[in-house]
Symmetry: C2
Subunit: 381 residues, 2 copies
């Protein structure tokens, strides 16, 4: 169901020939209202794709009628011609749906530096038939190297919230490289949507760091139709948005390109939450540690070498490091035997206790595998 689980939304996904691999590659989601509130979080990469530049203007007033997403091309570093393609795409959607182009978000994903074929997109928009059960097709049309669609739904008391996501490589914070569309039929204004979305992405997508590479096209959109007629409390709504983001982030991690392990790095005892994030990220981005996990090698020295590069306050020789429940390093000295650690399960838990304060943060990452190298060397994306 994904984006059409909430009342007031119609969607579709269709194949228009953008992806060399074939399959659906164009998705459309429309908010039928009665309300048209929205909020968006964008990539923090300074190299922004044309659809990002366009969508940042669209969201300025907090009103969104529809969103169109394509896979098969990022429309990034494509110059004035590329921006024209984005603009013309929004215009065509607006004409089709009878709305203003200034209320149409655009998302693209795929290879940087190639022009998108506008003609194919215009034909696709013309053919598109948006329906109340089109959420599934939409979630298929946004995939690139993903192995399967990512969808989730959370039910509130008389209202609901659902979402779809794509993303398999270039998963990194600010945001994890991905496109996400979340819809709700709750009655929520755009300011509340924005607050809930930013709070949720900060601790979910922004802490997913599959390969340390930040994308140029990330966009997470939250739209509210108000069709349920119910206004949840801010706290209730924020919790539901966070749950949806958390579930989608976990689905992205589990489908990361070539990964054979999902690694959860929990840092405790930090002075501040930012310190805990920095420490966790330093481990998540350490290729030697990630390759060791691929080899089922509990190489805790690489964890300590990584956190030693951070500026977080702690004594490197007071630190505890555990893997899958076995304390391998106790106060900076060898602890239990490596032989006690079983890294054959897909999920790996690394616990770092800095013993410097009371703050905690969790970063999710993946291992560095032959398949990751293969996918990212053999195919342009």
């Amino acid at each position: 169901m994904s984006v059409t689980a909430a009342k007031g939304f119609v969607a579709t996904g269709l194949e228009i020939g953008l992806k060399n691999s074939g399959g659906k590659d164009l998705a459309l989601v429309q908010n039928l209202g009665p309300r048209k509130a929205a909020a968006v979080v964008f990539t923090s990469n300074r190299a922004k794709a044309n659809p990002i530049i366009w969508s940042q203007q669209v969201i300025a007033d907090g009103v969104v009628e529809a969103i169109i997403l394509n896979s098969g091309g990022a429309n990034c570093y494509t110059g004035a011609q590329g921006f024209q393609v984005t603009h013309a795409t929004a215009e065509a959607v607006a004409e089709k749906l009878g709305v203003s182009s200034g209320d149409v978000l655009v998302c693209s994903t795929g290879l940087i530096g190639d022009q998108l074929p506008l003609e194919k997109i215009l034909v696709g928009i013309e053919k598109a038939e948006l329906t109340e059960d089109g959420g599934e097709a939409a979630s298929e049309a946004i995939l690139t190297t993903d192995s399967h669609p990512k969808r989730t739904i959370v039910a509130g008391d008389g209202w609901s919230i659902g979402g779809m996501a794509k993303g398999a490589g270039m998963l990194a914070p600010g945001l994890a490289t991905m496109l996400v569309v979340i819809t709700t039929d709750a009655v929520v204004d755009s300011a509340t949507l924005d607050a809930a979305l930013r709070a949720a992405t900060r601790v979910t997508f922004d802490r997913l760091d599959s390969d340390g590479c930040m994308s140029t096209n990330d966009q997470v959109t939250l739209m509210a139709s108000g069709a349920s007629g119910i206004t949840p409390s801010d706290a209730e709504f924020a919790a539901a948005v966070r749950q949806v983001c958390d579930e989608l982030a976990q689905l992205l991690q589990e489908d990361a390109e070539g990964a054979s392990h999902d690694i959860v790095i929990e840092t405790t005892g930090a002075v501040t939450e930012d310190d805990a994030v920095e420490v966790g990220r330093s481990v998540a981005r350490n290729n030697l540690f990630k390759a060791a996990v691929f080899g089922n090698d509990p190489n805790w020295g690489r964890v300590l070498a990584a956190i030693g590069t951070t500026s977080a306050p702690f004594d490197p020789y007071a630190v505890d490091v555990s893997m899958n429940g076995v304390m391998l390093c106790r106060s900076g000295e060898p602890g239990e035997s490596r032989d006690l650690v079983d890294l054959t399960p897909r999920r790996v838990h690394v616990l770092i206790d800095l013993k410097a304060g009371g703050a905690t943060a969790t970063i999710r990452t993946n291992d560095l595998t032959h398949d990751y190298v293969h996918e990212n060397s053999a195919y342009s994306s």
Copy 2:
């Protein structure tokens, strides 16, 4: 010849059974004088191995009589017992050579978190016979996953300078993960040695970023015997030290674990040199770009996505990017065809013109390959 090319130095390398793979694993270099000046640059990792902690005390007065180096164990995160091993090693060298233990540097390299077998080291020191042609054996004894020894010599006017290096993985700035010993028979005081060494490492080893992982054991040592009786000018000496460091850094890059390409990233048009370094490093650490080079894919979009994450001042849509002489991106738009770029040679040159100022810097890195993943997943190091 390496460290015994310069007059006044004797050395040896021998096998004492530290390395599982067998082969020489203990090296000793002694400065016979008449002068005993030295300078050392250490890793900036806060997680410092015991030999680093020891050697930082030794170098405080600028006087060094000898240096002992072992492969087969990093002696890092080995607690009080590990520090005792380092201390006892220096004491044994001092007794053997009739010098003060406070003038004996210690270096270790290998797996973090395992205790070194002190008994084997003491037996090795007892057996060691240092000779004027022992430089070659010493350069073999410091290797870990290196495929061959790294040595270089530069001849001055009546004086000379030579060096040896080890390092194949964990190559990253501050310093590139490695042990280096450089010797000279020029008459140079420790302050001049220190200035020359810091100036040289800043633009050579510190700009070698093979896999973004910083070691806990890096140490670059420069010792001067004064045995030639000749005092070169500061500029002449600094240039020779820089040349030695540059040649050793290139040898390290060429032997990086599993690498199939040596990538030189030249950033021009930056406002400051620091900006140019930050931009180059962001590309050097981008796994997607490094995997693409492995696949001979000139994926310039990944270069732009990487530099967009930096804080260096420039307009992302004014940038030029060339690979091996082909301008793939001109002012943020597609330039020449990717098909014109031949990435089959081992050496790859990436030129980024930020068009924001007059500063330049070059970062060296390697591609991300199946062999890198294999070496770092299959073997603990």
